[in-house]
Symmetry: C2
Subunit: 574 residues, 2 copies
Amino acid sequence: MRASRFFISTLKEAPSDAEIVSHQLMMRAGMIKRLGSGIYTYMPMGLKVIRKVEAIVREEMNNAAAIELLMPLVQPAELWQETGRWDKMGPELMRVKDRHGREFAIQPTSEEVITDVVRSEIKSYKQLPLNFYHIQTKFRDERRPRFGLMRGREFTMKDAYSFDRDLAGMQQSYKVMFDAYTRIFTRFGLKFRAVAADNGAIGGTGSHEFHVIASTGEDALVYCPDSDFAANMEAAEAVATGERPAASAALVKTSTPKAQKCEDVAALLKIDLKQTLKTLALTVEKDGGGKEYFMLLLRGDHELNEIKVGKVAGLANHRFSTEAEILEVYGCVPGYLGPIGTKAPVTVVADRTVALMADFVTGANEADYHYTGANWGRDVAEPAIVADLRNVVEGDPSPDGKGVLAIERGIEVGHVFQLGTAYSEAMKATFLDENGKAAPLQMGCYGIGVTRILGAAIEQNFDDKGIIWPASLAPFELVLCPMGYDRSELVKEATDKLYAEAQAAGVDVIVDDRGLRPGAMFADWELIGVPHRVVIGERGLKEGNLEYQGRRDTEATAVPVADTINFVKAKVQR
Amino acid sequence: MRASRFFISTLKEAPSDAEIVSHQLMMRAGMIKRLGSGIYTYMPMGLKVIRKVEAIVREEMNNAAAIELLMPLVQPAELWQETGRWDKMGPELMRVKDRHGREFAIQPTSEEVITDVVRSEIKSYKQLPLNFYHIQTKFRDERRPRFGLMRGREFTMKDAYSFDRDLAGMQQSYKVMFDAYTRIFTRFGLKFRAVAADNGAIGGTGSHEFHVIASTGEDALVYCPDSDFAANMEAAEAVATGERPAASAALVKTSTPKAQKCEDVAALLKIDLKQTLKTLALTVEKDGGGKEYFMLLLRGDHELNEIKVGKVAGLANHRFSTEAEILEVYGCVPGYLGPIGTKAPVTVVADRTVALMADFVTGANEADYHYTGANWGRDVAEPAIVADLRNVVEGDPSPDGKGVLAIERGIEVGHVFQLGTAYSEAMKATFLDENGKAAPLQMGCYGIGVTRILGAAIEQNFDDKGIIWPASLAPFELVLCPMGYDRSELVKEATDKLYAEAQAAGVDVIVDDRGLRPGAMFADWELIGVPHRVVIGERGLKEGNLEYQGRRDTEATAVPVADTINFVKAKVQR
């Protein structure tokens, strides 16, 4: 490519609405252009990166025997009603009526359509397994679109759907996709981590998220450096080990005026925060009417994990108790609650760590008072329920028993999901098994946020000059920067020769023939993030050398003219 | 590709709603699957053809220095309001509201968005010319979607937009696109014709349509076999040559009971239809109130061209007169109108051919009577206006004076358009010229109906067995049909070797390893339309031969095993 025939448009300053670095740099590098809230035109420089992402995804999906098709964007409401998602999905699902008043969804994903395709195409177990995918524009009417391509409304996604005859087959298809995703993210040249994820409302038997590691990531990833364990914070099990120590202190009711938080109590009493209990009052409205009250107990330094709470028996539909309920049940204002001496009966649900504590400090159910030296069994009944209620913290034992946990931050760019038969049962998508009996298809679904990859890659790879693309995603692998392309015949000839050589060698090369001054030219390419640069100058040419500089290098290397392309080629080897 | 890893799904019968052959064959060959009215899933076999169309379009657009980007599907109403198209476009424009009640269009084309991009990016004449394109999903809420991909609602289009500093530059950009289109359709391997088109409501200074020639086409194309002249019927000028003959017959009022149509009059009077006049009564409502009446005259065997009528001075807003108006103006029921002796004054607009007629037969403005032997000047005043009002017919002189016209039918698959400054003026998209003065950008737009190409190619190339793809568009160039792949080690080995050879030679090959019986296997591939087939059988192998058959061949050719791939390769040479 010649820069004069491409469209390059860089900015010194990012627009003020660009809050994060990837959004800022993509705007400054002229990769995207805002059309509306969460809606972007992919400019030529950005589209080129998207195409590289798509090509790698497509190749690995094909290698994994997934078959590409293309489903429509505008999908009849009737299909979405079959699975109930027409009602279940809120305003995030963009809905539209045609000229006849018929309702349609602008698709955010395609489970319904692919299940509809498959239920009419698949008759027999002999046609299975099957895996269909497409790479396509999606629309989700996010409440608060932001961060450029990271949380847009219109975006590109690869979504794949596998169909199997039984659970074992589905798990095999899932593994094939998991492995394909691992190859895809490896080929992107990004640091990433696959973590076990919570299945969420969609149900199913298992799922993993693929995250690009970046300190700016929205998700906390938990992993064990000494084993394979890795999970999203939502799903990471917190293990409590060891025995409960014997009681060694007496129960003392202690004045703790205005100390409602554990931190305040610990500071006031000059004790370790780990000796305190954090109390949360929950209410569950019973189906037949009436209410049930629960008290959650966490160690003072731990954080509640809402998803884990929802999984405790009886707590699926909990809510936090109101102040009126708290006064009624505990006879005390919030901030001083505890398991000892509640006014009305409550079910105590202790985190695993709490169940192993002794001599702890907890609210006395009386304003401005706590108990110190509290002990299970002696001062209060053993907790009715012991469960995993909290987020893990660095240093927690790994659930596989092979070390301790570490935490890093990531950006979710892929998700693989064992769907089971939720969709196939709702939509009556069955096949005939060997005995001629109809059975629902076992499904999996597998997504990659194609356009989001760009944002995630940048969040992981940038410096104060701009983007640093991994070679496999860079809009161009090599930029040739001639000094005086229009003025010096020597430079022009050498540049054109080098350009032809690079093309012949299969290097994705752009020559900057725009006639910019060196400073502006270099700044553009550093901002855009092309990983390899060769400067062609008259002086160097006369000495037989060109100047090579990698995007992360702090200075240039002189390379003999004749060796230059081989030198670069070795560096871009994919 | 191995058929066992692809998805092949053929049907014996087409669904009853498939009215035309391309729709029937695409459904039967498993290329598309209906999701809703005018909305199709592109199945793997169909998508493969679409990708081949896209690849050729992309390559030639890039060669023509057009730059690819990707504009959003969901576009803010505000932009469409700037050009007035939000109101001007009817229900064909799909409109949608987001969760905040803001209005958006699901784009049918992208003039507004690209003009918005360019007005913020282009400051100076130095940045021009520019041509941006994208290949993308469009939606048009057609009143009556039909014919499969030929008139769908959701479809894929390549749309390009050029920006120039002046008219000459724009016309140059237009020519570059015209030439690129010519290369694209040539590479498709389709018989096509570029014809001058009417500019329609969009205005501008010129446009051409590209049509795939097919007897089932909706459009009539007029061309001169002896010159370059070619135009859509709507736009083809009808020329009248020669002199008007002298009057030789006397004017006679003749009884023509119940003969209201020219054909009936000619039959009754035993004269040539070409001696009769066809009369059409028009009304124009004047701006200040009141009406003006016009009488259009065509030769009895000619057809009215409505678009040409609209271009006659004073007739832009015409309508057909009502029966009440006709009684009032002509004093006669419809069917016997003519220029001689109307009750009220009317403006006579004669087609060019009519102005050269003598001794003609025309209505007498009296029920059941015509005049014979009528002559201009002698029996009635010369027509007030003489204009081109009719469709050309085969044998008409070519407007360039170089022969006579022929007519064939075509399917519109491309349109190039000189837009001028209509959009740039409405949207204030200007640039600074050499003198630092702001001027509106001169625009062109250029569309190719990517998915429609599939339908058009099939309408041109099919037989009773199925589709006959040109090699450049075929889902696969070559199918290998082993006889007993699972039973014969000899056949399996030879097939696998051939498959590897074909791949190495860059031939897009599929091997049918599904284990079907020969009849079913051959029928599938003839239906799908793969242009080259090689059958690998034990008997032939023992004799050292394979059976080659081209899709249009009536019988197979024996080819030595070792030569087979070279033999095929020579045939698929693109």
